[in-house]
């Protein structure tokens, strides 16, 4: 599987990207609003100034007179240090002020304040104009008061607020990124927990996952459980099939063997007898292999839901040895029992099967007229069943390899075998939480196989 980036990182980056966008957007908006607010403030001050001047307009002896009030100008440095220009015209004639100030943009209604922007003396200015009609003698004279100011103060206020907004946006962004990382980590936690739960499982644990999962992960869980279910069924089916096949093969084989033995007794010709003995041996082997296949399937089946019955290993060993006594006697092999009472919890059928397979192996590979020793003892917190033979040993390869399915030792040529015996033994002790130990016997000849099980 090639890892294609991390969801967490992608999620964090995505959220950070969104935060950056929002930060930028909010900075832009605050900057725009700050500028608008500053401009509006300036407009208000300019309007107030123009109105204050217009209010001093009066008529004296048929002439328009005015007095620039001090407050009209002193209020203008409220915003900042801005240059101030003004003009008062009566009927288009300059009364006072800066004659070359740009004219007001639009037609003014009396009493209304009109605003405009322009350039004067090399700087951008904002202007407020007020129209007032003054009766000079009998003649109504329109008087326009214009007050203008440069925009440095507005720019400074806007720039300062913009800097402040930028600092806040950066802080906001940093916090958002940190929170995004935390959020991504938190939302991915169930996924990691499920992955951990799955990887903690043993190799044959195919039970469905029963965990509370977020809605988004439910399909994955369902699919996973369904897959494990199918896998389990498929394994069970094949085990069933093998067991069924072995069972079906064993029964006719028993019939063939009986018939062959009867024939052996009734035939006197030595060649025929030899041939019949060969048949019997082959049938025995086949039967044995079928039995092992059956055992293997049983182990696979029963380990899934292991029984934990109290078992006396001494009784078990004695019983198993008794079933193999006859086979051993055929080849003059003595079974030596050295038993201490040890109890474990487990499945008696499986443990019997494991012990029988190991013992069977030992008998099979032992030369005639030798001893196979079975020893049951306590070793610390473990129970240990050791089977030692005087056979050819474990061969040259690593001993653990022998527990692989259908793997046989390098020195077993000439002896018929399936290579399943040790596999069964290992699967059983592993299912019981124990282990299988393979060693050369201490005197250098023969193998020593130990089934190590935790004490009950």
């Amino acid at each position: 599987m090639i890892p294609r980036g991390s969801i967490g990182r992608r999620l964090t980056l995505l959220l950070a990207g969104v935060a950056a966008l929002l930060s930028l957007l909010s900075w832009g908006m605050v900057t725009g609003l700050a500028r608008q607010a500053a401009e509006r403030t300036q407009d208000n001050v300019l309007a107030a100034s123009a109105i204050t001047i217009a209010e001093t307009l009066r008529s004296e002896q048929g002439e328009v007179r005015l007095e620039l009030p001090h407050s009209a100008f002193s209020m203008l440095d409220a915003i900042g240090e801005d240059r101030v220009f003004y003009r008062v015209t009566a009927a288009g004639e300059l009364l006072t002020g800066y004659a070359d100030l740009p004219p007001p943009d639009q037609g003014l209604a009396p009493g209304q304040v009109g605003f405009g922007t322009g350039v004067y003396s090399g700087e951008a200015i904002r202007m407020a104009s007020v129209l007032r009609v003054v009766l000079a003698g009998a003649q109504p004279v329109p008087v326009i008061v214009t007050v203008a100011q440069t925009r440095q103060g507005v720019n400074e206020i806007a720039a300062e607020l913009s800097r402040l907004a930028a600092a806040l946006s950066v802080a906001f962004f940093v916090i958002a990124v940190a929170l995004s990382a935390i959020a991504a980590h938190t939302s991915l936690r169930p996924l990691n927990e499920i992955a951990a739960a799955v990887s903690r499982r043993g190799p044959s644990d195919l039970r469905p996952l029963r965990r509370a999962a977020p809605a988004e992960l439910a399909p994955l869980m369902t699919a996973l459980n369904r897959l494990m279910d199918r896998l389990g069924q498929s394994i069970r089916r094949s085990e069933d099939f093998i067991a069924e096949a072995a069972h079906r093969v064993r029964t006719p084989l028993a019939t063939v063997r009986t018939q062959a033995e009867i024939a052996l007794h009734s035939v006197s010709d030595e060649t025929e007898r030899l041939r019949l003995r060969g048949i019997i041996r082959a049938v025995d082997e086949s039967s044995r292999s079928a039995g092992q296949l059956l055992d293997h399937a049983t182990v696979a089946f029963r380990s899934d839901d292991l029984a934990r019955d109290p078992i006396d290993l001494t009784a078990l060993a004695r019983q198993t040895a008794a079933t193999l006594e006859a086979t051993a006697a055929l080849r003059d092999i003595r079974l030596h029992l050295d038993l201490t009472t040890v109890r474990v919890a487990g499945d008696p059928v499986l443990l019997d099967s494991a012990l029988r397979n190991v013992l069977d192996n030992a008998i099979k590979y032992s030369p005639e007229d030798t001893t196979v020793a079975i020893r049951v003892a306590k070793a610390g917190t473990d129970a240990r069943i050791t089977i030692t033979d005087e056979g050819p040993g474990l061969g040259d390869g690593p001993p653990e390899a022998l527990t692989e399915r259908f793997r046989r030792g390098s020195n077993t040529a000439g002896i018929v075998g399936s290579g399943l015996g040790l596999t069964i033994a290992r699967d059983v002790v592993t299912a019981h939480g124990g282990r299988l130990e393979l060693q050369q016997a201490e005197n250098g000849r023969g193998a020593c196989v130990s089934l190590v099980l935790p004490l009950a």
């Binding site: 620039l68 100008f73 002193s74 240090e81 240059r83 101030v84 090399g122």
Partner: protein
Amino acid sequence: MRILGLALGMILAGAGALFAYEVEEERFYPGTGPSVLRVISTADLAVFEPYLLAFQAARPEIGIAYTVTSSADLYTAIRNGAAFDLALSSAMDLQFQLANDGFARTYRSPVTADLPDWARWRDLIFAFSAERAVVVVNAERIAGLPLPATRQELIALLRDHPERFHGSVGTYDVRESGLGYLFATKETRSTDVYWRLAEVMGRLDPQLYCCSGQMIDDVAAGRLAVAYNVLGSYAAERLARGSGGRVQILRMEDFENIMLRTAIIPRTATEVAAAGALIDLLLETGLRTTAEDWPLPPLSQTGSADGAGFSPIRLGPALMVYLDPLNRRTFLAEWENAMEQR
């Protein structure tokens, strides 16, 4: 170098004629280098020479051409584009108008950044000295009378002894003196006593002056008993100290006028860096906290023993209000009504 100075002086005199300003005093301080800083100022050389010498001690390569003229002429000259690198004036309203109307250029330095906000405007105009308007009295002429501490007391004093003060009260002729006009307009806004004082002075046949120097001289000589609104520079104080108690300087406790002496670099300036260096020197002396002996008072005088708060006239667009011809005409008409009751 002297010939060069002479030539320059002639050029400057010619320029004065061309740009319609009257040169009261003029001096050339040669430098070791070719560059010449052209300064136009309202401060007499007697007051200002120590600054020029200090500048030349620090920057000997720069020559200085120093021209003294009245504040109104200085304003007109700069407005008409006369070529100067630095304009120093006591008329802060006119200086402000020049800066506002775009006749000044910006200057920034670490020293200008140290200035308090009220002492600069837009990096265009810089205050380097704060001077207060005071009342100068001749102690012999008012012997036996209480010294006035407020304008109310001054009014009472003048009103109660018309025979003693007739023809012996001096003040600025605000029609001629820009500074007097600035002080007067500021006072009309700050206190309602001003017009009553003007009325009282008007009845006493007041003597009107263009400049504070002459007023102080006349008080010292006994021709005046009281001079109102005199620029209380150190020069005046020194004179008072040297007079052995004959000339006394009184600060009005009800309200004080404090004027800022300001510098701008005109748009026509060519030696901008040198002008900036001289501004820095002036500001450093203006910001001094130690009792160094410079002719002009420092900017901050809050530490001195005066009871009234220190509030100099603000550098701001409000200074332009009374420069408006309509307002000026109205104000002068009112002032003449009060002052000229003969």
